[in-house]
């Protein structure tokens, strides 16, 4: 009998600190698998953001750095410019990336920094206890939109993948979801592709993953997947928003 699925070696054995059914663990594993499969472990520098995944460095058996809230793409720029041989992964939540770090993500993308951003969009601020995020849906109740997000005060959700796709430099932008098996596989493929492109020096790669936060959605993990399917996925269409080789852009 042969083990056909086991823990990737780029993750150590420490149990995740995430809540039951949280999307972070799923994506951590996929990133580690992709690192293993591409043989990048000893060149990888993983950037933990400020958010529930602030301690991602507890798990990844790579070099790690913890960045200030929203600044991971700036930190990544410094890391990669200083050491172009490294593989830099900027792992960020929606509060971190779409609010605090708006300028940093847009300009890293505009410069075409050769690193990979994994964007965990759970439509809420997990770590601080469920406040509204820029990606919170209209009508969604959070601890700072207790009556549901009201466009009059809080506007409409920001679509980061679409926004970054207005820039020329990014090479690969895809939005995926963790809701079912097919999309889990797509997510894994997207992450691996992004890292592979980085490794080949293609440039900026970005994977947005729609992910559940059962705790702050006030749902159990199962209901969370349902809610994701019926509410988040219609607002945030899955798909590839950019996929070009450097050669194509240059021409």
């Amino acid at each position: 009998m042969q083990k056909v699925f086991e823990r990737p070696k780029s993750l150590n054995d420490r149990p995740f600190h995430y809540c039951p059914g949280c999307g972070h663990g799923i994506v951590h594993r996929m990133i580690a698998e992709a690192i293993d499969e591409l043989g990048l472990q000893d060149r990888t520098v993983f950037i933990s953001p400020v958010g529930c995944s602030v301690f991602a460095y507890w798990y990844f058996e790579t070099d790690n750095v913890q960045a200030a809230h929203g600044r991971a793409p700036a930190v990544g720029t410094g890391l990669k410019r200083a050491n172009p041989d490294s593989i830099v992964i900027s792992y960020q939540g929606d509060g971190d990336l779409a609010s605090s770090g708006t300028a940093e993500i847009i300009h890293a993308a505009a410069r075409g920094e050769n690193f990979t951003v994994i964007f965990i969009n759970n439509a809420i601020y997990g770590m601080t206890g469920g406040q509204m995020a820029p990606t919170t849906l209209v009508g969604q109740a959070t601890s700072t939109s207790p009556y549901g997000r009201d466009p009059k005060f809080a506007g409409y959700p920001i679509h980061i993948s679409e926004m970054l796709a207005t820039l020329k430099a990014p090479r690969y932008i895809e939005r995926t979801s963790l809701n079912n098996v097919a999309n889990l596989s797509r997510t894994k493929r997207a992450i691996k592709k992004a890292l592979d492109m980085q490794n080949k020096g293609e440039g900026f790669t970005f994977v947005e993953v729609l992910a559940p936060c059962p705790t702050n959605w006030g749902l159990d993990p199962n209901e969370s997947i349902d809610w994701m399917e019926s509410n988040m996925m219609p607002e945030y269409p899955l798909g590839v928003y950019r996929d070009v080789k450097t050669a194509e852009v240059k021409s």
Binding site: M1, V4, F5, F16, P20, S185, P221
Partner: protein, 66 residues
Amino acid sequence: MPMIAINEDRCKGCSLCVRVCPTHVIEMGKHLNAKGFYPAVYTGGKCTACKVCALICPDICIEVFK
């Protein structure tokens, strides 16, 4: 024979594996584990080693064998 092994001590009882298993060979246990969760249990039988339970498990509790 294909099968899975669930690390019950690490399981947080999210039940996502149960949700996705096409052959319905996982169910939620009735006893609390050390962490205070009701862990998933493999009921044996028709596992096809399709791995989807492992793919969704947020806490990497599942190993799959063939």
